[in-house]
């Protein structure tokens, strides 16, 4: 199974990354001032989509943009092409990873369409405003942005945050706007994180092309045993992602993913997360802190292996589990039904293949653990993803009895992100184990102060 087969990257992935990098130069200088080199880049983008369903809209978009026709369908075509390029890279990389790990590629579970609530009409208008703003960014170019062009979007974002059907948009766009406002205004030419910002631009555009349709789901019953977690955050959102084995009666256990998130402000950090996340996933935090299973009755599972967390359908079970054994068993040869991404979401940054490394299969290199030695061969650790939390530290790797890691692809190379470390004690090391204990303390803290102010002032306003 050697992970060390992942030293090189498939050639088509490298070529596609180069094409995307050239396209991103256009986003930096702006579609409002296309140079002849930019036009050539756009032409080669169009050429690589010849014969695909995107060819016609892309040709029309590039011809139109060349005549300075700034309409949103042209930018939609560019965004779709860029997203498709990353989707193809994602698929090729997942194939490479699964071959190295000797496991089937993840598949979407076939689910019948479930009738759900469609987004309200207001959502369509808000998404049109998003597309308009994104178009303005692309015309100006990231290198030429001015704070005055960014500020008015805050009002649109406020309205998006008030619309529950657009929660994914709110999380993405608040992070993106924040980051732009952090960098601008700057003195002189700020350094533009080009790939990252065009990624965020593209995702925002693709996500805003049409109001979100309800995803297909099925009800599940059984027991969830969470064995690994990951924390994601920007100034305005915190997300705790949990991976676990789902035991459904009469079926082999499978890996699922569940995620609880809350909106927040910059001062809310660390222990404040307990209060924020406890509100939506208190039982999940309790189970993680105690290393216990959760009885699930009627929670909804999506085709991507995402369990939609609902407190009312969860019950924490008393027995303490052997989580390292649980992880080792379910990750030894995982089924094709495991967490994956929807086709329109596929991007190398979303690859997270869970792997179990037994204690005799690796050793830590150096104190900061920037690399793991896998039977003598070094393999990069995704150090930049190590969360700022005492629950899981690089120092935990040394002398551990086994670990769960997410296999990631970032910066043009494969790396491992440890998400659970077995120290031979009943409770393994994973992010979020301290949150349950912090929940009681969090009540009087910063979150409490701000909620109290919000209660008084926002009521007064309306």
């Amino acid at each position: 199974m050697p992970l060390t087969d992942l030293k090189s990257v498939p050639e088509p992935v490298v070529h596609t990354a180069e094409l995307v990098a050239r396209l991103d130069e256009v986003f930096e200088s702006g579609f409002g001032r296309l140079s002849s080199a930019n036009l050539q880049t756009l032409a080669s983008l169009a050429a690589s989509f010849a014969g695909t369903p995107l060819a016609e809209p892309l040709d029309a978009a590039i011809a139109g943009l060349g005549r300075s026709e700034f309409v949103d369908r042209h930018f939609a075509a560019i965004a779709a092409a860029r997203a498709a390029a990353h989707g193809a890279m994602h698929d090729a990389l997942v194939a490479q990873a699964c071959a190295a790990l000797s496991r089937p590629r993840p598949e979407l579970e076939a689910l019948a369409d479930t009738p759900g609530q469609a987004a309200p009409p207001r959502a369509a208008v808000l998404l049109e405003s998003v597309r308009q703003w994104l178009m303005e960014l692309a015309i100006a170019g990231f290198a030429n942005l001015e704070v005055g062009a960014l500020l008015p979007f805050q009002a649109t974002l406020d309205a998006i945050m008030a619309e529950p059907a657009l929660v994914r948009h709110a999380a993405l766009l608040s992070g993106f706007l924040d980051e732009l406002l952090t960098v601008f205004p700057a003195h002189g030419k700020p350094e533009v994180p080009r790939l990252r910002w065009v990624d965020l631009w593209t995702r925002s555009m693709v996500l805003s092309l049409a109001p979100p349709a309800p995803a297909a789901t099925r009800e599940v019953k059984g027991e969830l045993r969470v064995f690994a977690t990951d924390l994601r955050q920007h100034d305005h959102v915190v997300s705790l992602v949990a991976f676990g084995a789902l035991h459904e009666p009469g079926k082999p256990p499978r890996v699922v993913r569940t995620c609880v998130s809350a909106f927040k402000v910059d001062v809310l950090q660390g222990e404040d997360f307990a209060g924020l996340l406890g509100e939506v996933g208190g039982k999940l935090l309790e189970a993680i802190a105690g290393g216990q299973g959760v009885k699930i009755s009627g929670m909804l599972l999506q085709a991507t292996g995402d369990l939609l967390w609902q407190e009312a359908r969860a019950e924490v079970l008393p027995a303490k589990l052997k989580l390292a054994e649980e992880a080792a068993a379910v990750l030894a040869s995982p089924t094709a039904l495991r967490p994956s991404a929807r086709p329109e979401d596929r991007h190398p940054a979303l690859i997270e293949e869970l792997v179990w490394l037994p204690g005799d299969g690796y050793s830590a290199a150096g104190k900061e653990v920037r690399e793991l030695s896998l039977k003598g061969e070094s393999f990069a650790v995704a150090s930049e993803r190590w969360p700022s939390s005492d629950d899981l530290l690089p120092a935990d790797v040394a002398g551990s009895k086994g670990l769960v890691a997410l296999l990631r692809f970032d910066g043009g190379r494969w790396s491992l992100q440890p998400v659970m470390i077995d120290k031979g004690k009943p409770l393994p090391r994973l992010v979020g184990t301290s949150l349950q204990a912090a929940r009681a303390k969090a009540r009087g803290g910063n979150l409490g102060t701000l909620k109290e102010r919000a209660g008084k002032l926002l009521r007064k306003k309306s």
Binding site: L151, L172, G175, L207, A262, E279
Partner: protein
């Protein structure tokens, strides 16, 4: 990757519930020392170094007599804590100040050359309400795959 700063001490949210660098100002809301119901809206303007402090009903702060009042000092302290001296100095355009030597925000006062200059408190106050809106949005159990871009 943009990471949060590890703050030298926790922010005093009870005292200064809101501080931000926005629209060319270091601005925020400071609680009154004497009256729980009252808040002051304070700001320093980039470039000019002008400042002001008033209640959210636009009554000027009594402590503002040609030089910054204690609310403005608290705002500056918390601003430097939240964003770090380098960012505040660059944002306000205080060319003379040396970020490495700044221990507390108050030390930047001597580089601020402007005087009291009134702006409508409502502009800053509505930003505070926007800020508070974030803690009022319901948390969610739906997947947010785009958060994969925001890791720390």
């Amino acid at each position: 990757m943009i990471r949060p700063r590890v703050l030298p001490r926790p922010r005093k949210v009870q005292k200064v519930p809101f501080v931000e660098l926005y629209a060319g100002r270091l601005q925020g809301v400071v609680s009154s020392g004497s009256d729980e119901e009252r808040v002051y809206v304070s700001y320093f303007e980039a470039g000019t170094g002008n400042f002001y402090c008033s209640t959210n009903n636009n009554r000027p702060c009594g402590g503002l007599r040609g030089s910054p009042c204690k609310h403005l000092v608290e705002l500056l302290n918390e601003g430097v804590l939240q964003y770090g001296p380098a960012r505040v100095i660059a944002y306000l355009g205080l060319q003379q100040a040396e970020p490495d030597k700044v221990r507390a925000g108050g030390e930047l006062l001597r580089f601020i050359k402007g005087g009291p200059h009134k702006v409508e408190a409502g502009m800053v106050f509505s930003r505070f309400l926007t800020y508070l809106q974030y803690v009022s949005v319901a948390p969610t159990g739906v997947p947010l795959p785009d958060m994969a871009w925001f890791v720390r």
